[in-house]
């Protein structure tokens, strides 16, 4: 995958990877999608934050994600920092694109 802007050199100082992801499911980032994200991140070693409407929350927290109250079409700034940042970001992007399994994805 070509993603020049996100390539990081394997230096000991980690640089957070940032991407904007759009919420596409009907009801927005409500309780069920929040659980979907939290579950997905359980296997990730990175720290992840979501920013929306100038509010930044820990994406490992269902309560935090609900606080965002991100409706459909909301553009979320996702920031991932850690050893498996690239992989985590890819999986998050997939979850967003799959509408958090609102049609039955694997998470």
């Amino acid at each position: 995958m070509e993603d020049a802007g996100l390539k990081t050199s394997p230096s000991p100082v980690s640089v957070p990877q940032v991407r904007k992801l759009r919420v596409t499911n009907q009801q927005g980032l409500h309780a069920r999608p929040a659980v979907c994200i939290v579950r997905l991140l359980q296997s990730s070693k990175s720290s992840v934050t979501f920013t929306y409407r100038r509010q930044t929350v820990d994406a490992h927290s269902v309560l935090g994600l609900l606080m965002l109250a991100a409706p459909r079409n909301a553009l979320i700034t996702v920031s991932v920092d850690g050893p498996d940042a690239q992989d985590t970001l890819v999986r998050l992007e997939e979850a967003f694109n799959q509408r958090f399994g609102e049609q039955g994805c694997g998470c």
Partner: protein, 586 residues
């Protein structure tokens, strides 16, 4: 002065049924004193007890989690997937790292009690959620609150309300908010009635998991005095509550309650197959309009969806759903049925439905047009509709059902469009072709049944419309429509003819409509050879009960007697007498 009346008037109240079931008992009014949250308590900890307090907090978390897990498993087992998902989200909130971190830090650094920290975090969430612009998210505070109150109930055991609810009481409340209160209250009660509370409220979820009949939308104002300790009947099938029921009402409901409990009792429902007394299997299917109802298939031990009314989505939205929206709904329904067959009926806009509302997409549709004509006149809408249905094939057995078909030619044109739809989205994707069925709702079609041989896989008889068009009565006009019309000898003979014709060409036939769940008519229907019924799921216990009370031989004798009787009144009396003989024993 107390005026003692000899016979108190029975009071009928209509609400909304949330959890099916029947209860007869004494009422108990639960006055939920606003949670005493401003009660005085010491917010700071004694010195050196921080670690003990943190341990206490973690123990409250794991107890909450365990309780939610039990509730979640129970719901999933009973097929309440959506409810289970919601409880699952609550479980994740209990384990939320943000919550744990903040509580631990404040206990250690500020020397505060976990209780006061949890309460202040809850208040912070409350003020945050109250300001949210979207109602959908604002309402979600209810979930957050229920989780926090649950944790608090373990943290502060004294908080668990000490309400002494009499055993087997029918509990009346305005609303039950705290989850712990809901669960404590629901031990050993026979039914719950509230003024407020949706089908996904915590009370509803607990009631579903416990199988406690629950009726909501019952206004308690004005009946409070007559309520206390009075006898009451809760009909969680019809959404009725009866205060001070007459003896006769109690007797009838006790019989229905026995029937119901036998078939949905926690032990009975999994094993209870739908069959006659002598073991002849009757296929029992569900009429549904929304994917949320699919959970009822396993709850009531039903064999599949016999009628999925797709037009309800149009009526609900006030417009035609897009092809994508349709695809999503149909696939969701097929998946929710979990391998059981689903019969998807194409949009059925008849004269009795407010289909004008959908007119935005279908210009100049005339009231009274038949649904198949409408669809055939708008092949683009029809094709998109069928494509969405075809896409749902493969996730489970799917059938397409064409309503109100008036001729073989109309079917053939519809089949052509179905074929086009399948070629576009099914063939290349190796999707199986859906089975095809035709609804017999026009009396004239009864004389064309043999011509459908080789063209359709099954018939479905829509008894409501068949009655209406056979006897020239308008169902939407309740004054002219008399329930007794179902016993019209001509109509019942027509039914028998249709079943016989379908059998002669070896095409399976299913009966849907009100007739198929009428306890008096069921023996007759089975007697003329009906072996598949599609009904409102909540009526399943009653229908199973009735089916198990007679043998095929007895049903055939009843049918013979009915077919040789010339008046509706006589048929009605005869079937009524049979029913009493079988069920009440007199």
């Amino acid at each position: 002065m107390v005026v003692k009346r000899d016979v108190e008037e029975e009071i009928w109240l209509e609400g909304r049924a949330v959890v099916p079931g029947i209860a007869v008992g004494h009422s108990f009014t639960l006055t939920t004193s606003e949670q005493e949250s401003d009660q005085e308590y010491d917010i700071s900890l004694p010195a050196d007890s921080a670690e003990v307090e943190i341990e206490k907090f973690h123990s409250a978390l794991s107890q909450s989690e365990e309780e939610l897990q039990v509730l979640c498993d129970k719901l999933r087992l009973d097929g309440f997937c959506q409810e289970a998902d919601l409880v699952e989200t609550h479980r994740h909130m209990v384990n939320d790292p943000a919550l744990t971190k903040e509580v631990e830090r404040s206990v250690r650094e500020k020397g505060l009690r976990a209780e006061s920290i949890v309460r202040s975090i809850l208040e912070r969430y409350r003020s945050h959620f109250e300001l949210l612009p979207e109602a959908l998210f604002r309402q979600r505070f209810e979930d957050v609150e229920s989780v926090f109150l649950r944790i608090l109930s373990f943290l502060v055991p004294e908080m668990q309300e000490k309400i002494e609810v009499p055993k087997r009481a029918i509990v009346f409340a305005h609303i039950v908010t705290a989850p712990a209160a809901a669960e404590v209250t629901m031990k050993d009660i026979s039914a719950i009635v509230t003024t407020k509370g949706g089908s996904m409220s915590h009370t509803a979820i607990v009631a579903k998991a416990r199988g406690i009949p629950y009726v909501t939308n019952i206004e308690l104002k004005g009946i409070k005095e007559s309520l206390e300790g009075a006898r009451a009947v809760v009909d969680g099938l019809a959404g009725l509550v009866i205060i001070n029921p007459y003896e006769d009402t109690i007797r009838r409901y006790t019989a229905l309650q026995n029937a119901h409990e036998k078939y949905v009792g926690s032990s009975g429902k999994k094993t209870c197959v739908c069959e006659t007394k002598d073991g002849c299997r009757i296929v029992l299917l569900a009429n549904v309009a929304d994917v949320n109802e699919a959970g009822q298939l396993s709850f009531y031990g039903l064999d599949g969806v016999g009628l999925y009314r797709t037009e309800y989505q149009v009526l609900e939205r006030g417009r035609f759903p897009s092809e994508e929206e349709q695809t999503r709904s149909y696939a969701a329904m097929v998946q929710a049925a979990n391998g059981k067959p689903v019969v998807i009926r194409t949009f059925d806009f008849g004269s009795d439905k407010a289909w004008k509302e959908a007119g935005g997409m279908l210009p100049e549709v005339e009231c009274g047009s038949r649904p198949m004509k409408l669809l055939l006149d708008h092949p683009d809408v029809f094709r998109a509709h069928l494509r969405a249905i075809v896409r749902a094939c493969g996730s489970g057995p799917v059938s397409v059902l064409f309503p109100m078909v008036s001729s073989v030619e109309e079917l053939e044109r519809s089949l052509q469009i179905l074929h086009e739809a399948w070629s576009m989205v099914g063939e290349g994707w190796k999707k199986p072709r859906p089975k095809v069925g035709v609804m017999i709702e026009l009396p004239s079609l009864a004389f064309h049944i043999k011509e459908f041989a080789g063209k359709v896989d099954f018939f479905s008889v829509g008894t409501n419309d068949l009655t209406q068009y056979s006897l020239a009565v308008d169902r939407s006009n309740s004054a002219s429509f008399d329930a007794g019309l179902s016993f019209h000898p001509g109509l019942l003979r027509l039914m028998q003819y249709i079943v016989k014709e379908a059998h002669s060409v070896d095409i399976p036939l299913c009966l849907c409509g009100e007739m198929s769940s009428d306890p008096l008519l069921i023996p007759f229907l089975v007697g003329v050879g009906v072996r598949q019924l599609s009904i409102a799921p909540r009526l399943a216990p009653t229908v199973k009960h009735v089916l198990r009370s007679f043998t095929i031989d007895e049903a055939e004798q009843i049918a013979d007697e009915v077919l040789s009787t010339d008046s509706a009144q006589e048929i009605y009396s005869f079937l009524g007498a049979q029913y009493r003989k079988i069920h009440i024993g007199n």
